[in-house]
């Protein structure tokens, strides 16, 4: 029994040994943008296409022996950040220093030498292993590529590593193909391939999320014990705050390309500051019915990173957003559509007709003109006021500065957005206006202003 069980105190012993001083990895102002190619005409006239800001100005340090959790939903940029650190994706701007050496812009030849020290484990063990290679070939391949061993030496080294990751006796696995192995065994083989070069940093991108619940603990324990034996540093990329709790010394929460909260694990779990962190924690299903808590989950999904919301990217989903968080035209479209989802068809048709063309709401703006043909303006304004009366506590309405008829149309104006900054709050840093005195003061002024 005890072999399968390890309590939190011994886990934190395993986690200790974090060194201070010069960080192993120092990331500063890192940006990774993917460009979306514009149309033929755009290229013809030399206009730039749009860009997806997958990683948008991120800074953090990673110390030797530390486990940093990078947590967020798909589309948060966590995977791109991991890939940029490994040099698999070029950085658009900023710096990544590894053992004091700048990685961005390094030619492929030099990066390849460094990759011996930087390894990666991906989410899907089935896709990570070449189906035509035996386990021995796959795990020995890095040794061959980097010219670190040859012939029988490779096989010996591979056997040693396989035994270390629990694929023992190694002879039983070496000549098998990935399809002969279970999911957990495959992930062990992938981990063996990653550590065979004795790296110092291992980027683990969702290493357990495709595995059965009953196997996850085994792989996490293996990774913790390897960290101890090989003096590894981990960047653990996941969407799952429950496994990260066991694994990480520090947690960075990412949303739409930015770190929105970062700090020691204990502080993040005991007192999550950012409404997004709070939402992620609330969303984890709890199997013990005596401990389950009511879930009020944020609406919607992670928005399109090529057209991020104004102000704070999380504001459209945030239950605590207020005046300066970035309310704008697209939020009005979402609000109307959510309202119409619940209406009878005739009522929807009538309201839809009153508002008219919705496309004007698709361009991000803090001021729009709706129902601009004079006749409908009265009805449209009445409808907006009705929507507000139906749900006055909806945070959206805090952002509205003015709704009025103007020149035969309805004009809606929102408060000017403020961009949130990453600020210290207790033990953590958080990027949210709720913890920014200046933003709170500004919102207070706006509440007392008469438009």
């Amino acid at each position: 029994m005890s072999a399968q069980t390890r309590d939190l105190s011994s886990l934190s012993e395993l986690r200790s040994g974090v060194s201070t001083g010069e960080p192993l990895v120092a990331v500063n102002g890192l940006k990774t943008y993917y460009s979306i190619r514009g149309s033929f005409l755009d290229r013809l006239i030399g206009r730039e296409g749009a860009a997806v800001r997958a990683v948008d100005d991120v800074s953090f340090d990673l110390h030797k022996g530390e486990v940093l959790g990078l947590v967020g939903e798909s589309g948060s940029g966590k995977t791109t950040l991991g890939r940029t650190l490994l040099g698999l994706v070029p950085a658009t701007a900023g710096s990544v220093r590894f053992e004091g050496r700048e990685l961005t812009g390094l030619p492929e030849r030099e990066l390849r030498l460094l990759r011996r020290r930087l390894q990666v484990v991906f989410q899907d063990p089935h896709a990570s292993l070449n189906p035509a290679m035996t386990i021995a070939q796959a795990v020995g391949h890095p040794l061959q590529i980097h010219g670190m061993a040859s012939g029988d030496e490779i096989r010996l080294r591979v056997a040693e590593v396989l035994e270390r990751v629990g694929l023992a006796p190694a002879e039983q696995f070496m000549d098998k193909y990935p399809s002969d192995l279970s999911g957990g065994q495959k992930q062990r083989a992938v981990i063996a391939r990653a550590i065979v070069l004795e790296p110092v940093l291992l980027v683990a991108d969702e290493p357990v999320s495709m595995l059965d619940m009953s196997v996850r603990a085994k792989i996490l324990e293996l990774m913790l014990s390897l960290k101890q034996d090989f003096d590894l540093t981990y960047l653990y990329i996941t969407h799952d705050l429950a496994t990260a709790k066991f694994f990480c010394d520090r947690i960075a929460i990412m949303y739409l390309g930015r770190i929105v909260e970062i700090g020691p694990s204990e502080a993040i779990y005991e007192n999550p500051r950012h409404p997004y962190t709070q939402a992620l924690l609330r969303a984890i299903p709890e199997p013990d019915p005596r401990r389950s808590v009511p879930r009020d989950l944020p609406r919607g999904e992670v928005p399109d990173a090529s057209r991020p919301p104004l102000g704070c990217s999380f504001h459209p989903r945030c239950p605590r957003a207020f005046e300066v968080c970035g309310w704008e035209s697209r939020d009005l479209r979402d609000l109307l559509e959510a309202r119409w989802s619940g209406l009878e068809e005739e009522r929807y048709e009538a309201e839809r007709a009153a508002i008219g063309n919705l496309d004007v709401l698709d361009t991000p703006a803090t001021r729009v003109r709706l129902a601009a043909d004079g006749e409908r303006a009265e009805r449209a304004l009445g409808l907006l006021e009705q929507a507000r009366d139906d749900d006055p506590n909806e945070p959206f309405w805090r952002g509205v500065r003015r709704m009025a008829r103007a020149d035969g149309a309805v004009e809606v104006e929102w408060h000017d957005p403020l961009s949130p900054r990453l600020l210290q709050a207790g033990e953590v840093e958080v990027e949210c206006h709720l913890y920014d005195e200046d933003a709170l003061r500004r919102a207070d002024e706006l509440r007392h202003e008469t438009p």
Partner: protein
């Protein structure tokens, strides 16, 4: 559950043909589904939960053979001709898949998906009725009417799953089977979808079978839970009671190995589910069971009722009369190498 069940599974066996002996994916299972009831089917991969979930609505892969009874509306679905089954599937019994994108035609508007589905099963509907029914169902799933004529690629993953659920619900089925409906979704969106599914019984009076490996999901969404191991239901009862006080060591071990925020120790079950061609003798869980007794290796357990409304397939609950002398003697669990692990 009270009153007549909506659907009743009796001693169902589903075997997959292999060149050698068959894989006994579901091996003598009985289960009732009540009206407007949400039942969770849980277990590790390869325990037969998906096969059972699909078998219940007569949807089995090529080469599978079913025996036993699945009684719905006074008829046994096992052995029903494919044509009669197809007529039931959709308007009576629906299925929600794991990957919504693979089930929506990328070249068809959402409106056309609904038109096709409705026209196939309810021929007499007018265009107006089709539109009304579709918009109403989509609206309840949180898809606005403004997006009715868009294509699947214009929606996010969560919205596609909502559309899939609406497509199943628009025919007003009595029972829906959802097979890992949230596996490819993020945790917040997963929570949103599960909340929708848990509300089906209230909003549509539809019963739901939720197939998942995530016990947290079952605890939060299901009225009852059936825990499967190696093709058998080893424990069944009200979800709250089962999770608060599991009767079967397998249920308890599964719960302990689930990592949640309140988990205070990492725990795993040694070994892996057995292959179902030649499962272990006696109780199929005995090689992995921390509470193995002498009888467990020798004899298959007999179903008992540790509490009213609950059942378990485990010798720990007797019946005493069936356990031979010395049968309760505790044994050491056999050592299991990592090599045997999942």
């Amino acid at each position: 559950m009270s009153g007549e069940p909506l659907l009743s599974v009796r001693n169902l066996r589903v075997y997959y043909g292999t060149p050698g002996r068959p894989v006994r994916a579901v091996d003598g299972v009985s289960l009732d589904i009540g009206e407007a009831e949400v039942v969770g089917l849980v277990g590790e991969s390869g325990c037969g939960k998906s096969t059972l979930g699909r078998g219940v609505i007569g949807l089995l892969p090529e080469g599978a053979r079913a025996h036993g009874e699945v009684v719905y509306g006074g008829r046994n679905l096992v052995g029903l001709p494919p044509k009669a089954l197809r007529a039931l599937r959709g308007p009576e019994l629906g299925l929600i898949f794991q990957e919504p994108m693979t089930r929506l035609n990328p070249l068809m508007r959402i409106s056309d998906h609904f038109r096709e589905t409705l026209e196939q099963h309810e021929r007499r509907l007018t265009n107006r009725e089709i539109r009304r029914r579709s918009l109403e169902t989509l609206g309840r799933m949180g898809i606005p009417p403004t997006r009715f004529r868009q294509y699947p690629h214009e929606f996010s993953g969560g919205m596609r799953q909502r559309i899939m659920i609406a497509l199943a619900l628009v025919l007003r089925p009595k029972l829906l089977v959802a097979d890992e409906p949230t596996t490819s979704l993020d945790v917040i969106v997963e929570g949103q979808i599960l909340a929708l599914l848990a509300d089906l019984k209230r909003n549509f009076s539809t019963s739901l079978i939720l197939v998942t490996h995530n016990l947290g999901i079952v605890a939060e969404s299901c009225d009852r839970v059936a825990v499967m191991y190696a093709g058998k239901i080893v424990e069944e009862g009200p979800a709250r009671n089962v999770f608060a006080e599991p009767s079967h060591p397998y249920t308890r071990e599964l719960l302990r190995s689930t990592i949640s925020l309140d988990t205070t120790e990492l725990h795993s079950i040694p070994g892996a589910p057995p292959n179902l061609i030649d499962p272990p003798s006696g109780c199929r869980f005995h090689p992995r069971c921390p509470e193995i007794m002498a009888v467990c290796r020798e004899r298959a357990p007999i179903e008992t009722h540790p509490e009213p409304g609950r059942r378990a397939l485990c010798w720990l609950h007797g019946p005493d009369g069936a356990i031979p002398p010395g049968g309760r003697q505790r044994l050491e669990r056999e050592a299991i190498a990592v090599a045997e692990e999942a």
